[in-house]
């Protein structure tokens, strides 16, 4: 749980954290500057809608002035875990779920009603209707499959909602750009599900690097998933009879993706490994680990400029290079870690490695672990960020400060995922210009930065 209380308003002092990325490029007003002026100009700062506790039977919960009203879209197994995490926060009230699959929306309703001891969780089948008819909802939890993360987030933000989107949060570079643009344009708070950016042992590893205790960092290593390949499938599973639209709206499930015959296997997680629905073994864990590395080295507004093709099915061993010379190497398997979603930072004076399941990071010298608690405390004091990913989101919804896994962090780390994938698909080295956001001298690679979306779900 968070060490911090919810802030009652904007942060009163201190410099912005070095990892925080404000909105837009060099010529843009930062979000903080804009909101300060907008609130002076006349109360334009969005505040959460309020539902009286008495109406929700929540005598023990936070007062209406402190409560965030939450809805959810596409909540399955992973999403239920995140939802449970969110409902544990006293100032959050989940009120409605939308899903094209009946079994899933009913399961979520049951979970939520059981939690609150009532029958009040509303259910919806149609996302545009859901977004248009619930102005009372402040924020949306989006845990659909990967194919929908970006477009659903964009739709929710256009409807005035703040967003928590599971990762990988976009399927293409173009989608990531649109998420950033939409969040900036409407002043929305957005968090992608890179929860390790809020976990103490990963924070500590990043702080070791940031404070120079590893010396000059030359190499970071990012874990990629041990299943699936970089080159994904296009085949169709055998078509099965379509269920009723109420049971499962296949058209809505597919959304912007190319049509294919219905097969229930896709809806049960069998979409992984398909080009239309997945970002490969690289994106599966790279969505996490690349973001960790980007944030650790301060590359929150850029991506590597070089991608070295490796002749294997997975991208294992690919060396990418940032403009400042730091290498990021993709690694699969257990060579560098004994847990999942690992990162490792190597400098002239030491190294640190951390993954899921570690109680503490592993380091080149035990002395590097000294002051663990103080380092984490100093981080939270400096950044005003909770060491809980969902708490960070809700704090930022109230304060309107950028989250730790904000749109720019998401977009730039996912751009690295996409560039690495494209490198593997084209089977050649690539150079990327992160300012222009295009591949250098490579029209084929540039064609793969976007995909035509199936109507009517066009960004």
């Amino acid at each position: 749980m968070s060490k911090l209380e919810s802030p009652s308003g904007a942060r009163s002092g201190g410099n912005p954290p070095s990892h925080a990325t404000e909105a837009g490029g060099p010529a843009s007003v930062t979000r903080r500057q804009f909101l300060r002026r907008a609130s002076v100009a006349g109360g334009l700062v969005a505040i959460p809608s309020l539902i009286p506790g008495s109406a929700l039977g929540l005598a023990e919960q936070a007062a209406p002035s402190e409560r965030i009203v939450l809805g959810g879209i596409g909540i399955g197994n992973r999403g239920s875990g995140v939802l449970g995490w969110m409902m544990g926060e006293k100032d959050v009230q989940f009120v409605a779920v939308c899903d094209p699959q009946k079994s899933r929306r009913e399961k979520v309703k049951k979970m939520v009603d059981s939690r609150y001891g009532n029958q009040d969780c509303a259910i919806y089948k149609n996302t545009p209707e859901f977004l248009a008819t619930r102005p009372d909802i402040d924020a949306m939890l989006i845990t659909t499959g990967d194919r929908w993360h970006a477009l659903m987030s964009i739709m929710a933000m256009r409807a005035g909602k703040d967003v928590y989107s599971e990762k990988p949060s976009c399927m293409t570079i173009a989608e990531g750009q649109m998420v950033v643009k939409t969040a900036d344009r409407f002043g929305r708070i957005y968090q992608t599900g890179n929860q390790r950016l809020s976990e103490e042992k990963f924070i500590f590893a990043n702080e070791l690097l940031r404070t120079g205790r590893l010396g000059e960092v030359h190499t970071v290593r990012a874990h990629i998933a041990p299943w699936d390949a970089a080159v994904m499938k296009h085949d169709w599973l055998p078509g099965q009879p379509l269920p009723s639209k109420d049971e499962a709206d296949w058209d809505a499930w597919l959304g912007p993706c190319p049509w294919r015959p219905y097969n229930p296997s896709y809806c049960r997680g069998g979409w992984r490994g398909y080009y239309d629905f997945h970002t490969s073994c690289i994106g599966e864990w790279g969505a996490h680990t690349f973001a960790q590395c980007h944030v650790a080295i301060g590359a929150t507004d850029t991506s590597p400029v070089e991608y070295g093709y490796v002749n294997n099915p997975t991208g294992d061993g690919m060396v990418t290079r940032f403009a400042n010379g730091i290498k990021m190497v993709l690694s699969r398997g257990n060579k560098w870690w004994h847990g999942s979603c690992g990162v490792r930072y190597e400098g002239t004076e030491g190294w640190v490695a951390v993954a899921d399941g570690y109680s503490r990071p592993e380091v080149s010298d035990p002395k590097l672990l000294e002051g663990f608690e103080k380092t984490v405390r100093d981080y939270t004091d400096r950044t005003d960020r909770a060491t809980s990913h969902v708490r960070n989101l809700f704090d930022c919804i109230k304060s309107r400060r950028p989250t730790v896994a904000n749109p720019e962090v998401m977009h730039r780390s996912m751009s690295t995922v996409h560039a690495a994938n494209i490198c593997m698909w084209l089977k050649r080295d690539l150079k990327y210009d992160p300012v222009k956001e295009e591949f250098v001298g490579d029209p084929e690679a540039n064609r793969l930065r976007s995909r035509a979306q199936r109507e009517p779900w066009i960004m």
Binding site: R185, V231, H234, L426, A452, E455, I458
Partner: protein
């Protein structure tokens, strides 16, 4: 049919061999004229999206009215960097209905075809589902002075169901006008959005835009 990724890699491997690529392209185009199953035609569209040239445009454009292949035809057409794609999409506007029409309207916005602005303006009055909102957003992406005029006029007249999409188009258009140094045009759009009686986050977006306009150096 070979995995499209294999075709992609093979084509890349012989990138310098234009004749081989052309031969592959011709083979893919020939699939559309055959009685190949739908999946094979879908895969051909996908591959042409990566290697297709203006030579593939007529064959792909001919599929725009086919409800089962229209999206994949656009999947193949959208990335091809040739003006014939825009022309084909504009021609299709006058012939299509329903979801294929929505798709073509959307693709013209993705390609930012300035010559489509007048045609898309007419689509704002189309009553089929999703056509008018998609047209509004496409006009926003096109972002020309003509598009700006259409959108700001539509914001005043649009029925409630369309006003949000038109406002989104105005916001997009305004940012592009500003990027081209046309600050007054951009500010006019943002002011129109601010006064349109829309939800608070639209007024915030308009205010943000006007702040951007104040801080950006005015290009002469």
């Amino acid at each position: 049919m070979t995995n499209p990724m294999t075709i992609l890699a093979a084509t890349s491997a012989v990138q310098a061999d234009a004749a081989a690529t052309k031969e592959t392209e011709n083979k893919l185009i020939a699939v559309f004229k055959s009685d190949a199953p739908r999946k094979e035609k879908v895969d051909a569209c996908r591959q042409l999206g990566v290697i297709g040239t203006k030579n593939a445009v007529p064959a792909l454009a001919a599929l725009l009215g086919d409800e089962k292949l229209s999206h994949m035809a656009r999947y193949g057409l959208e990335p091809i960097p040739d003006a014939s794609v825009d022309e084909a999409l504009r021609v299709a506007l006058g012939k299509l209905k329903g979801r294929p029409l929505v798709g073509v309207v959307g693709s013209l916005g993705v390609r930012r075809d300035p010559a489509a602005a007048a045609l898309l303006a007419k689509m704002l009055e189309n009553t089929e589902a999703d056509v008018a909102p998609t047209a509004a957003r496409s006009l926003g992406k096109i972002g020309t002075p003509e598009a700006a005029k259409v959108l700001s006029g539509a914001l005043v007249k649009a029925p409630a169901r369309l006003r949000v999409a038109v406002a989104e188009g105005c916001l997009d258009c305004a940012e592009q006008r500003l990027a081209e140094g046309k600050r007054e045009e951009a500010v006019a759009l943002w002011q129109a959005v601010a006064k349109a009686g829309l939800p608070k986050h639209f007024r915030m977006a308009a205010a943000r835009g006007m702040l951007l306009a104040r801080e950006k150096p005015h290009k002469r």
